[in-house]
């Protein structure tokens, strides 16, 4: 493909002059037209990608770097920044709420992504069977994706209400008493994870399904000939074949989990800013908002943001290493 494209972009001005079917045309009157044409082919790709990169430079890269600079300053909204060196980071290091937020982000991330992706994998496998009403199932499991964080959370807050919520009523029927879904730490984190999982499982299942459908059928035929059971086929044919897609979803979900904000904020209602009365589900993102917009210390908030960046880079590096190792091991 690459070669044919190159042939076009370099060869077309010449071919327009020599092409036999254009011989009736007067042809380019002078060199400037051919030059313009060549300039057009050379420059136009950059013109097409310019809007994206300009937008990214202005609203992505610049603020990203500027946040890094702010993290070494003391600055409130509307005041000039004063350089304080690494003080903001030192203060974070000594702050137990920061460590709590870091831990919560990690635990919430794990319990909201791992079950979600495993269930999505299972659902995709089921949807890959020959089914009646296949289209209906697909749209149905994707429906939660159409709801917003805010709307979904407000509804789940009702379902998870410890006193009158439906979930505690159901649990009561099987003998599990009164779970404190908001005031105690793990139940609250599980409830928040349930919102995330509900919204995203179907979406990931459809992505897996598409990858599964691209797996060549002969792989399964060969496995079946070797006497592999359905489960065995799933483990040794399906999973390795869609490995790249699995990595893709892991990366996307991890990034999403690192920035969890709306769900815990709205789950907490009026105490949402602090992530619950006892900060029991305060994420890094909430902590940053608390520092920046409730307390007004933008410098400290910037330091929290850059800690998030460092964490993401770390996760990215680990995932890259795992991916490489995995590919080597499986020879993919």
């Amino acid at each position: 493909m690459a070669t044919s494209v190159r042939a076009t972009s370099d060869g077309s001005p010449r071919s327009s002059r020599t092409a036999p079917r254009l011989s009736g045309d007067p042809g380019p009157p002078a060199g400037w037209r051919a030059k313009l044409f060549r300039l057009d082919t050379k420059a136009s790709p950059y013109v097409y990608i310019a809007p994206f990169f300009l937008c990214f430079a202005a609203f992505g890269l610049f603020p990203l770097i500027y946040t890094g600079w702010l993290s070494f300053n003391e600055v409130q909204l509307g005041t000039h920044a004063t350089w304080v060196g690494a003080r903001n980071y030192r203060e974070l290091w000594d702050n137990s709420f920061f460590w709590g937020a870091l831990r919560n982000t990690f635990t919430l991330g794990v319990i909201s992504t791992v079950p979600q992706l495993l269930m999505a994998l299972g659902l995709a496998h089921l949807l890959n069977y020959k089914l009646r009403a296949r289209g209906f199932f697909r749209v149905a499991i994707l429906a939660p994706y159409a709801t917003s964080i805010a709307a979904a959370t407000l509804v789940f807050v009702q379902l998870f209400n410890p006193d009158y919520g439906m979930i505690n009523q159901l649990l009561g029927h099987v003998g599990i008493g009164h779970v404190q879904w908001s005031s105690s730490k793990w139940p609250a984190q599980i409830a928040i994870s349930a919102i995330v999982t509900w919204r995203w499982t179907g979406y990931n299942a459809l992505i897996y399904l598409a990858a599964m459908q691209a797996v060549p059928a002969d792989l399964y035929e060969a496995a079946a000939l070797d006497g592999a059971s359905r489960w065995r086929q799933f483990i040794s044919v399906t999973i390795p074949s869609i490995r790249p897609t699995i990595f893709f979803t892991i990366i996307v979900s991890t990034i999403g989990a690192t920035q969890l904000f709306g769900e815990p904020l709205m789950f907490g209602g009026t105490v949402g800013y602090s992530g619950g009365t006892d900060h029991q589900y305060q994420t890094l993102s909430l902590y940053m908002y608390d520092k920046g917009w409730q307390i007004g210390e933008l410098g400290q908030a910037s330091a929290v943001a850059w800690v998030m960046l460092l964490i993401l880079l770390l996760i990215g590096a680990v995932q890259l290493l795992v991916m490489r190792a995995n590919r080597r091991k499986l020879g993919g």
Binding site: M1, T8, S9, S16, T41, S44, P45, Y48, I49, P51, F52, F56, F59, G60, F62, P63, L70, L77, L123, H125, N128, Y129, L131, R138, A140, I141, L142, A146, S148, I149, A150, A152, V155, Q158, L159, Q169, T201, G202, I207, L209, P216, A217, T238, S241, P244, T245, F248, G262, M266, T270, L284, M288, Y289, G292, W293, L298, A305, M308, L312, L320
Partner: protein, 304 residues
């Protein structure tokens, strides 16, 4: 992160002839020949119920009174107070303004993202230029930058020029998204034959004509899907609108937040009713165009 494109590309069929591909898709896959057993149906029905029940219950709770809602057993059938609750929603927050704002924001963001993403996606898919692969890697990498890393300076700028509480502060930073560029690139590298561009060039068409007469017509279905996806995303966006706007001039999501934690006494049925108002427009879109959206999501993630 740079590797994201390659593994995805690796999953796709090598041949890009659409007919072959469709045949392969139909033939391929674990269970395509195997019929789903009763257990498969049981699990799928369970998943469907779990997915749809909270949506159904939103309608139930939105049409009940606060007292009915907080008195167990929780109601499971719709009540008769939907209109009353809607009235209170409109009393407590400026929902009309919020709906208009959200429509404007999501509409502008979707239109401009589709336009710019198609241009950039076309360049990355079909044009040869220096630094193409490196720049594409940059595009993909930018998808991993969370908004938390940019909102502080953006907020400073927005408040310096007096745009806090104005919707342009929400529209401008989202004019084009990396996801869209990648999505259109994936689509166009399969769907747009190089010969068509070559032929247009031979006929002396300059690049704008090629865009208008060759690229746009072929990209139209993908542009429609991308437009819907971006509209949904933008409509549901919360973090930056929540920071940049306020209850005087909110988007729907910001208004919902106000409804759930505002100064007024919280009426739970009314809060859920607000959630219903915010979700209904998108659910209607889903009901009509669900199939296309399903196709679009899977295409964006997997096709090469």
């Amino acid at each position: 992160m740079a590797d994201i494109t390659q593994p995805i590309a690796g999953t796709a069929p090598r041949r890009s002839d659409p007919a072959t591909k469709r045949r392969r898709l139909r033939a391929g896959g674990a269970g395509k020949q195997q019929n789903g057993g009763p257990i498969a149906y049981a699990f799928l029905i369970l998943a469907t119920l779990l997915s749809l029940f909270p949506l159904y219950w939103t309608v139930v709770a939105a049409s009940r009174t606060d007292t009915e809602l907080v008195t167990p057993p929780t109601p499971l059938l719709p009540g008769s107070h939907l209109i009353d609750n809607l009235k209170i929603v409109w009393d407590q927050v400026d929902m009309t303004k919020a709906l208009i704002n959200s429509t404007i924001v999501a509409g502008c963001v979707a239109l401009s993202t589709v336009l710019f993403a198609t241009l950039a996606g076309f360049a990355f898919a079909k044009l040869q230029f220096r630094g193409r692969n490196a720049l594409l890697t940059v595009v993909v990498t930018t998808m991993t930058i969370p908004p938390q890393l940019t909102v502080i300076p953006l907020y400073q700028i927005v408040s310096n020029i007096g745009w806090v509480g104005h919707i342009q502060s929400v529209i401008l930073p989202s004019l084009v998204a990396a996801f869209g560029v990648f999505f259109m690139r994936q689509f166009l590298s399969e769907a747009l034959p190089v010969e068509l561009i070559e032929a247009a060039r031979v006929d002396g068409a300059h690049s704008l004509r090629i865009i208008w007469h060759v690229v746009f017509p072929i990209a139209r279905p993908a542009m429609a899907v991308l437009g819907m996806l971006v509209f949904v995303q933008s409509w549901n966006d919360f973090f930056w609108p929540f920071i940049a706007l306020n209850q005087q001039n909110p988007t729907v999501q910001v208004a919902l937040q106000g409804l759930g934690s505002g100064d007024h006494t919280i009426n739970h049925a009314v809060v859920v009713c607000g959630a219903l108002v915010a979700t209904l427009p998108l659910l209607l879109v889903f009901a009509v165009l669900g199939k296309q959206i399903v196709g679009g999501i899977t295409a964006g993630a997997v096709k090469s």
